[in-house]
Symmetry: C2
Subunit: 433 residues, 2 copies
C-alpha cells in the first residue's frame, strides 16, 4: 500500500516531511575497497585490470584484448534485429537534434572604455562513459551520454562496459556505433573508473567521466573527481504526476509503474485534486501489478515509497512539486504549460496526456540523465555543457588600463596584495611617464 496523504488532514505537514525525508537508498560503504582497487590500477595498470576482470566478470583476457576490436563490435552489431536498429537510429537522431540546440555561443565585445571582454567554449579533449553490465546495461543510456559528448565536440570518447561471463550486449554496442564512440573496453566496476581517470598501458586517460553504475562505480567516481570531471552521482529514479480527474487512471498508473519498475528504491508520487481519481489510479496500479513482469520490484517500490496526495487545488499541487523537486514531473491537467510556469524545481517536465515519461526515456530528445533526490533544486540534467568548459577572455587597452588601473590598485592595497597593485602601477607609470 502506498501512503495516502491529503493536505486537508491536520497531520499533513508531518507526513509530507516524513515522505520527503525517507532514505530510499542504503548505499553500502565500499569506499575502502574502492580506494584499494584504484591504488592497484594506478600501480599495476593493465595487469590489475586483467586480474580484476577475471575475478569479477569471470572473463580472462590478454591485455591487448581489453579493448573490443572493431570487427568484434561489427559482428555483434549485426545480431541486432532490424526493428531495434531502426528505433535506436530514430532515438539517436532526435537526441542529437535536441542537444545541438544546447550548444552555447562564444561571445566577445568591446566595452565603453575600449576593453575587449568575452569568453569562449571548448570541449574536453577526451571523455569516458561508464556503461553497466548485465540487466542494467541500457542502450538508451549510451545514446543519452555519448551523443551530447560528440555534439559538444569531444574528439575521443571511450566506453567501458563489463561483459560478465564474456557476454556483451549487442544493442549497447550498436548504440556506441550510432553515437560515434571511438573506443570500447570490456572492463567494469571501480577498476574501469580508475583506468579512465589515471590511464593504463591500454587505456589512455580521459578528462571527464559520465554514466551510471553501482555503489562501487559511484564511490570510484567520487574518488577520482578533481582528477577528472564527473557528472552527478544519480540516485534511484523518481516520478511525480500531477493529474486532475479528466485523465485515464490506467495511463497514470502505468506512468507511476514505469518508474517503480526500475528499482525497489524508486519513488512514484501522484498528486491530484480529486481523491476518488486517486483511488481509481491506485486500483489500476494494483491490477497491473498482478501481471507486470517486474511486479516484484515495482510492487516493493510502490508499497515502500509510493504516495497519493490529495490537494485542494492545483496551486497547492505546484507548491508541493517545488518541495519534492522531482526528477520527472508529468503535468496531466487542462493547462499544463500554465501549471509548469508556476513550478521552479524539476529535472524534466512532461506536458499533457500524450507525453508519458517513457517517451522521454527513449526518444523525445531531451536527456534522460536527470537530477534525483531533490537535487533538481540546484542541478540540471546531463547536457552538452558537461563536456564543455568556458575560458574567459579580456584585453585591456592603454586607455582602459588608465581608467581602471587605479581602482584595481586601491583594492589590491586594501587586500594587502602588494605585488598585485605593483603589476598595475608599473604599467600606469609607463603609460603616464
Amino acid at each position: 500500500m502506498p501512503q495516502y496523504l491529503s493536505t486537508s488532514d491536520p497531520g499533513f505537514e508531518a507526513a509530507f516531511a516524513h515522505l520527503l525525508s525517507l532514505k530510499r537508498e542504503d548505499s553500502p560503504d565500499v569506499d575502502a575497497t574502492v580506494a584499494a582497487i584504484i591504488a592497484d590500477v594506478r600501480e599495476r595498470g593493465d595487469a590489475a585490470l586483467v586480474e580484476m576482470t577475471a575475478r569479477f566478470d569471470r572473463v580472462t583476457l590478454a591485455p591487448d584484448r581489453l579493448r573490443i576490436p572493431d570487427h568484434e563490435i561489427d559482428a555483434l552489431c549485426a545480431q541486432v534485429p532490424e526493428a531495434e536498429r531502426a528505433a535506436l537510429s530514430v532515438a539517436a537522431d532526435r537526441i542529437r537534434a535536441y542537444h545541438q540546440r544546447q550548444m552555447p555561443c562564444d561571445e566577445s565585445w568591446t566595452d565603453d572604455l575600449g576593453a575587449m571582454l568575452g569568453w569562449r567554449w571548448t570541449p574536453v579533449s577526451a571523455a569516458g562513459l561508464y556503461v553497466p553490465g548485465g540487466l542494467a546495461s541500457y542502450p538508451s543510456s549510451v545514446l543519452m551520454n555519448a551523443i551530447p559528448a560528440k555534439v559538444a565536440g569531444v574528439r575521443r570518447l571511450v566506453v567501458t562496459v563489463p561483459t560478465p561471463d564474456g557476454v556483451a550486449n549487442p544493442l549497447v554496442l550498436l548504440a556506441c556505433r550510432i553515437a560515434g564512440v571511438d573506443e570500447v573496453f570490456r572492463i567494469g566496476g571501480a577498476q574501469a573508473i580508475a583506468a579512465l581517470a589515471y590511464g593504463t598501458e591500454s587505456v589512455r586517460p580521459v578528462d571527464t567521466i559520465t554514466g551510471p553504475g553501482n555503489a562501487y562505480v559511484a564511490a570510484a567516481k567520487r574518488r577520482v573527481f578533481g582528477r577528472v570531471g564527473i557528472d552527478m552521482i544519480a540516485g534511484p529514479s523518481e516520478i511525480l504526476v500531477i493529474a486532475d480527474r479528466d485523465n485515464d487512471p490506467d495511463f497514470v498508473a502505468l506512468d507511476l509503474l514505469s518508474q517503480a519498475e526500475h528499482d525497489e528504491s524508486a519513488q512514484s508520487i501522484l498528486v491530484t485534486d480529486d481523491a476518488s481519481f486517486g483511488q481509481a489510479v491506485a486500483r489500476a496500479v494494483e491490477r497491473h501489478l498482478e501481471i507486470l513482469p517486474r511486479a516484484a520490484i515495482a510492487g516493493a517500490s510502490w508499497r515502500d515509497f509510493g504516495a497519493i496526495i490529495t490537494v485542494r487545488d492545483l496551486p497547492e499541487a505546484a507548491a508541493l512539486a517545488d518541495r519534492i523537486a522531482a526528477e520527472h514531473l508529468e503535468l496531466l491537467v487542462a493547462d499544463p504549460e500554465g501549471l509548469a510556469a508556476t513550478i521552479s524545481h524539476a529535472g524534466a517536465i512532461f506536458l499533457g496526456p500524450w507525453t508519458p515519461e517513457a517517451i522521454g526515456d527513449y526518444i523525445g530528445g531531451p536527456n534522460h540523465v536527470l537530477p534525483t533526490a531533490r537535487t533538481a533544486r540546484f542541478s540540471s540534467g546531463l547536457s552538452v555543457m558537461d563536456f564543455l568548459k568556458r575560458t574567459t577572455l579580456s584585453r585591456m587597452t592603454p586607455e582602459a588600463l588608465r581608467a581602471l588601473g587605479p581602482s584595481a590598485e586601491t583594492l589590491a592595497k586594501a587586500e594587502r596584495l602588494e605585488a598585485h597593485g605593483l603589476s598595475v602601477r608599473a604599467r600606469l607609470d609607463r603609460l603616464n611617464g
Copy 2:
C-alpha cells in the same frame, strides 16, 4: 631558485612531467573532525554554532546575535574610506555587466512531428556564500561570488564570515551591501557550512554553497555536496605567462609575483621563446623579492614551484599551455588573439601587455574564481550557471506519439522495461482504437 627548463634539453620531457606532477598542496586530513562538527550542528543547531564560535573565533554570541543586524553592518560600512568605496563600486558594476551577458536563454520549438520541445532556466531559491575571516577575507571574492548569484536571480543570498576576536572586516561587509547580500552571519569553519546546508534555528538552509575556505571548509563542502550544490574546491593559485622578448621584464616579474604572493603553494610559470629574456625576468623577480612585503610567501612559492621554460617557438608554447591548463594565462606576444586561438585549456586568458592578471582579480569583469590544478581541462570558472538549473520540457501531440511511440515501445521491450512500453502502448491503443 625556480626551475629552468628548455624544450631543447634532452631531459625536458621528464622535467616537465615532474613539474606538472608536483603536489603543491598538503591538505591535512580533517575529514573525521569535520564529520563530527557537521553532526553536532545538525543535532544541536544554534547551540552548537554558539559554542564553536566561542571556541574557534573567541567570540561569545547569543543565538539571536549570530546574524549581524543591519544597523551594525551600516555602522561598519561607514568606516570604509571613500577611495575604497568608489573602487568597490566600479568593480561591482563591471562584474555585474559581464555576468549579465552570461544569462542563458530559455528555448522552445515545435519539431517536424508537431512535438513541443525545449528547456527553461530557473535560479536556485537560496544560496550561501562562505567568506573566510582574517587575512584571506577578500572583498573582491564577495563581489565575484555574490554578484553572479544575484544576476542569476537568487532571491535569498546568505553570507557567513567568521569574525575572529570579534573583528569584522568593513570592506567585506560593504561588498556584501553593494552586491545585494540578504543576510550575514558571523560564523565560520565547517560549522558555517553545516548550518548553511542543514539549517539551524537561526540559519535557514540554502540550496547551493560557494566560496573559498581553508581545509575544514573544503572538507565540509565535499561532505554536504549532494545535499546542496557546491562550486569547485579551489586549490592554490597559478599563473602561466607566455611572453616574447618584446616585453618589459619588470611587468612579467610582477605578474608572476602577484600569484606567488597569494600562497607558498601558488605556482608561477614563464614560458618564453628567448632564454635571455627569461633570465632578465628572473633577475627582476629577485629584485622585487628584496622589497615586497609578502616576500617570504612569494619567495617560497617562486623557489619551490616557479619555473622558466624556454621554447623554440610559440606553437611549442601553446602545446605546453594545454598540458599545464593554467588557471590564469597571460599572452604577452605580438598576436595574443592568434596564439589564444591555438590553446584549448585555460581558466582565463589575459591578452596583451596592458592586461595584468590583477586587473582580472578585481575589476576586469570576468570572474576570478577559476579552475586550478589542471582542472581547466574539464571545468570552468564561477558564473551565473552555478546559480541556475535547467528543466527540460516536452509535449507530445497525438500525431507525434503515433509517430514515435512504436520506437519507444521497441526500445523499452529490448531493455525489458515492460511498464515503460505499456505506458506508451496504452496511449497508442487509445489513439488507434
